[in-house]
């Protein structure tokens, strides 16, 4: 009973942090039942993760932008355009795919710097800047795909980024061994890091959750990771997309939680004037955040184009909305200053699980848009109401 009460108050207090996990579990359970298990099949989960890669990458960048209280509406068509640029470079210029990818990422950084320059140095509101840039790259995308329409990419090495899987080290029938090993390492790393952080918290007399709940949390997350890894290992193993996303998340999570740069970003989001008076160069931070967003838009463009094995004139449509929604679902505050990269990844999975599940259920595309819109609004309503009850 005591345990149950603590559990209840824990959920209540941390509803902002756990909300998205609950949402994800509820959505998955719902679709699993409605599709008679198809949704949770190895094949579909593997697909879902590969499909959501570009949204996840964009959501990570958007998290930073939203934390400092700006928005970037350009990233959809910037990603679309940059993906098409990769196709043009590989197909029409016969460039090796590695060099094409580097050029695309650099171009993304350049576009991000342009946005950042206008917002941070010139002082044009990001809404206007990025809306204009979105139009520019929507046009540019049409222009470079215009001659041929869709550009099909025959380069299998490039297409593997979105469709391929990591190689295996041993040959066991039906099981991807390397994936299993990575999964187990991840679980061990998670458990160790949790114990260390708990010890530290206790040392400084922070409030910690009670041991049984702590163990429960550990088991729950471990089983969750283990289950997903098991499903993936039963199919083709870990996809390259998952690896790319994981790398991005680890790097950005580290920057945001452990470095001075991350602190400065949260500081600017929490109170711009106080941050400036505390010696933080708000313009520089703003510029950097938009630059990182541009870089990630380039990466997202590569993931998407590779996944589709082609560049299309419509690529990039509403990507920015999915990224914004993913960030809000993932606990980023609409008032700025609050949000986690890891949360936004869960948000991205939610935003991709919805259309995926609905397709399996045979729901028409029109409802898909409506439901995505509703989810976006709900996420922000959730944010505002939970913030209110706190104060």
């Amino acid at each position: 009973m005591q345990l149950f009460l603590e559990f209840k108050s824990l959920i209540k207090k941390n509803i902002r942090e756990y909300g998205m996990y609950i949402a994800l579990v509820v959505i998955c359970a719902f679709f699993a039942i409605m599709t008679k298990g198809n949704f949770m099949s190895s094949r579909n989960i593997s697909n879902l993760i590969s499909q959501s890669g570009y949204v996840a990458v964009l959501a990570v960048g958007m998290t930073l932008v939203l934390i400092i209280k700006w928005i970037d509406l350009s990233i959809g068509f910037v990603a679309g355009f940059l993906g098409a640029l990769a196709a043009v470079l590989i197909v029409q210029q016969n460039m090796p795919m590695e060099i094409a990818c580097i050029i695309v990422i650099l171009a993304g950084i350049g576009i991000g710097m342009f946005n950042g320059f206008l917002v941070a140095k010139v002082g044009v509101p990001a809404f206007v800047t990025t809306l204009a840039v979105m139009l520019i790259f929507r046009g540019s995308l049409l222009e470079i795909t215009g001659a041929t329409g869709t550009i099909v990419i025959p380069d299998e090495k490039f297409n593997a980024i979105g469709n391929g899987f990591i190689p295996d080290i041993a040959n066991v029938e039906g099981i991807h061994v390397l994936t299993l090993i990575i999964g187990m390492l991840a679980i061990v790393a998670y458990i160790i890091s949790q114990f260390i952080s708990r010890k530290n918290l206790k040392r400084y007399q922070f409030e910690v959750i009670s041991m049984p709940i702590f163990i429960f949390k550990l088991i729950f997350i471990s089983v969750l990771i283990g289950y997903i890894v098991w499903i993936l290992a039963g199919y083709n193993g870990l996809s390259w997309t998952a690896v790319v996303v994981a790398l991005v998340v680890v790097i950005y999570h580290f920057i945001m939680s452990k470095t001075a740069l991350g602190r400065h970003i949260y500081g600017v989001g929490g109170n711009k004037e106080a941050a400036e008076l505390s010696g933080i160069n708000v313009r520089r931070i703003t510029f950097l955040v938009f630059t990182s967003m541009g870089m990630l838009a380039g990466l997202a463009g590569l993931l998407y184009t590779s996944r589709q094995r082609s560049a299309m004139p419509t690529a990039g449509t509403l990507f920015e909305l999915d990224a914004i929604a993913a960030a809000f679902v993932g606990g980023v505050s609409a008032a700025g200053g609050v949000g986690k990269v890891t949360g936004s990844i869960i948000g991205a999975l939610v935003m991709c699980a919805l259309p995926n599940g609905m397709k399996l259920m045979g729901v028409s595309i029109s409802y898909e848009y409506i439901i995505r819109g509703v989810i976006l609004v709900l996420a922000v309503v959730f944010d505002i109401t939970t913030r209110k009850t706190k104060s």
Binding site: F206, T259, G267, A274, L277, S278, G279, I280
Partner: protein, 506 residues
């Protein structure tokens, strides 16, 4: 039947932890000009906010009656309907609209569903005549000077058939001519039967025009004077304004060695870039090692702007002049450079410009000096926590842990966090802007002790304060600022409240 148009009886208004108004009685006779005086924080604006319904009925104790009728205002529009109009220091005109649109903004003359522009224009001309303004009503307000705008505000008030006109520091931003003009207008309005309340820091001005003067101090009515009273003069009124009993609320002065000049500005001038107006004129000031120097002055004297302009806010202020720290000439392009050079500025506006309220104590204390905690850009959190804990202990910050969100701290503890943040940046010269505003007496005493302790360890402090007693109680030397200029420099041992006040209100 009495001849009071307004009677406020037994008004008490309590904010969390502070009694802003304590059983205030305030009566205004019909047809008079009534001056309301008091130091900053004496309760003048709170009283006017109670009167105008900003603080709704029931959020205070006491009774208000207007024309012998008891009033219960729940919002500003209620008091407006009853015939009370307040003109605030910050004018409420809309710059992009024309004069006639502004005069009838919010109470438009309608013909059915539509605005009757002809009638509006005609009446606006009449209103402008009443306030003796000879301008084209079709001109946009943004093209007019501040003095003219003030008169338009009054025209707007009169157009609502105002019974009681309240002016909050109407001449604070006006030049001499405009001020005289405005005061003459008040006299004329009085002849036309309009009663007005004049809130002002300019005592001479109030004396020249008011029929009655009420002085507030510490949320209480001190006295109500008319020209027959012996104290109806500048010195008499200053005495009432500041003459509270002095409690022992300052730590004792210790013998202390004051060193050489470590901070100096010469011919410092600044232009507010947003307004395009010069706000600081030829300021010369110096601070010695181990010294507490105060900058006294009224609100709007330019003290905060001075501090901000020193601190490298080049976006907001274009500065001229020279600054020396330990004899070395300095020029800051960003607060970062100022901090690195050994300067710190703890703002008066803790909530909006000082702390990041959604973050915890630890994050707030370390933010100005994260560099010292970092190894290749990675924060050493253990060291951060230890540093924070040492400040919680040494400054006696009352908090549950280093991870407590600063929003949930009391004002005094927030101020201590703000001080800790700047101590952690390890400055040589600390500028404290209104360090005790809005905090209770106990916490004030602790802040004073901290300041004394810091200068004993060799730091120098520039304190900006509006509280004269605080300035006299804590500082070694006092500069007085008025309208962006230093109007006096006094050793505390030779200063009295009256001498400071006089220089502040020249």
């Amino acid at each position: 039947m009495n001849n009071y148009i307004l009677e406020m009886r037994g008004i008490t208004k309590i904010f969390p932890g502070v009694k802003a108004l304590d059983n205030v009685n305030f009566k205004v006779k019909k047809g008079e000009i009534h001056g309301l005086l008091g130091e900053n924080g004496a309760g003048k604006s709170t009283l006017m906010k109670v009167l105008s319904g900003v603080y709704p009925y029931r959020s205070y104790d006491g009774e208000i009656s207007l024309d012998n009728e008891t009033q219960r205002f729940n919002q500003i529009s209620d008091s407006e309907k009853a015939g009370i109009a307040i003109i605030y220091q910050e004018l409420a005109l809309i710059p992009e609209l024309t004069v006639y649109e502004n005069i009838f903004f919010g109470h438009e003359i309608k013909n059915g569903a539509f605005i009757d522009w002809n009638e509006t224009f005609k009446r606006a001309v009449g209103m402008l005549k009443k306030v003796r303004l000879n301008i084209n009503p079709a001109i946009k307000v943004k093209e007019l000077g501040i003095g003219t705008r003030q008169l338009i505000e009054i025209a707007k008030a009169i157009s609502k058939n105002v019974k009681l006109l309240i002016l909050d520091e109407p001449t604070a931003a006006l030049n001499e001519d405009d001020s005289i003009n405005l005061l003459n207008l008040l006299r004329e309005l009085k002849e036309q039967g309009v009663t007005s309340i004049l809130i002002s820091h300019k005592i001479k001005e109030v004396l020249s025009i008011a029929d009655t003067i009420t002085v507030l101090r510490d949320g209480k009515t001190v006295c109500t004077l008319d020209p027959k009273d012996r104290d109806f003069n500048e010195f008499g009124i200053i005495k009432h304004m500041v003459g509270r009993e002095i409690e022992n609320i300052y730590p004792p002065r210790l013998e202390q060695k004051i060193g050489d000049v470590c901070f100096e500005v010469r011919n410092w001038s600044a232009i507010d870039s947003a307004k395009g107006k010069q706000i600081l004129h030829d300021i010369n000031l110096n601070v010695r090692k181990g010294e507490i120097v105060s900058i006294a002055g009224l609100m709007g004297a330019g003290r905060t702007e001075f501090a901000l302009s020193l601190f490298g806010n080049t976006d907001k202020y274009a500065v001229q002049g020279e600054m020396y720290i330990n004899g070395k000439k300095q020029k800051f392009k960003h607060p970062r450079q100022a901090i690195d050079a050994g300067l710190a500025y703890a703002t008066e506006d803790r909530k909006n410009k000082g702390l990041i309220l959604i973050q915890n104590i630890k994050q707030n204390i370390s933010i100005a000096n994260l560099k010292s905690l970092c190894n290749m850009g990675v924060i050493n959190e253990n060291r951060e926590i230890r540093a924070t804990e040492s400040y919680i202990e040494s400054l006696n910050i009352k908090a549950t842990s280093v991870a407590q969100i600063t929003e949930n701290l009391s004002g005094g503890n927030q101020q201590k966090v703000s001080v800790a943040k700047w101590l952690y940046a390890n400055p040589q010269i600390m500028i404290l802007d209104e360090p005790t505003r809005g905090i209770d007496v106990g916490a004030k005493y602790e802040i004073y002790c901290i300041m004394r302790d810091l200068v004993r360890k060799g730091m120098s402090i520039i304190m900006i304060s509006s509280e004269l007693l605080e300035i006299l109680g804590i500082s070694d030397r006092i500069y007085v600022m008025n309208k962006g200029r230093i109007t006096g420099e006094i050793m505390t041992s030779e200063a009295t409240q009256e001498t400071i006040m006089q220089k502040a209100m020249l």
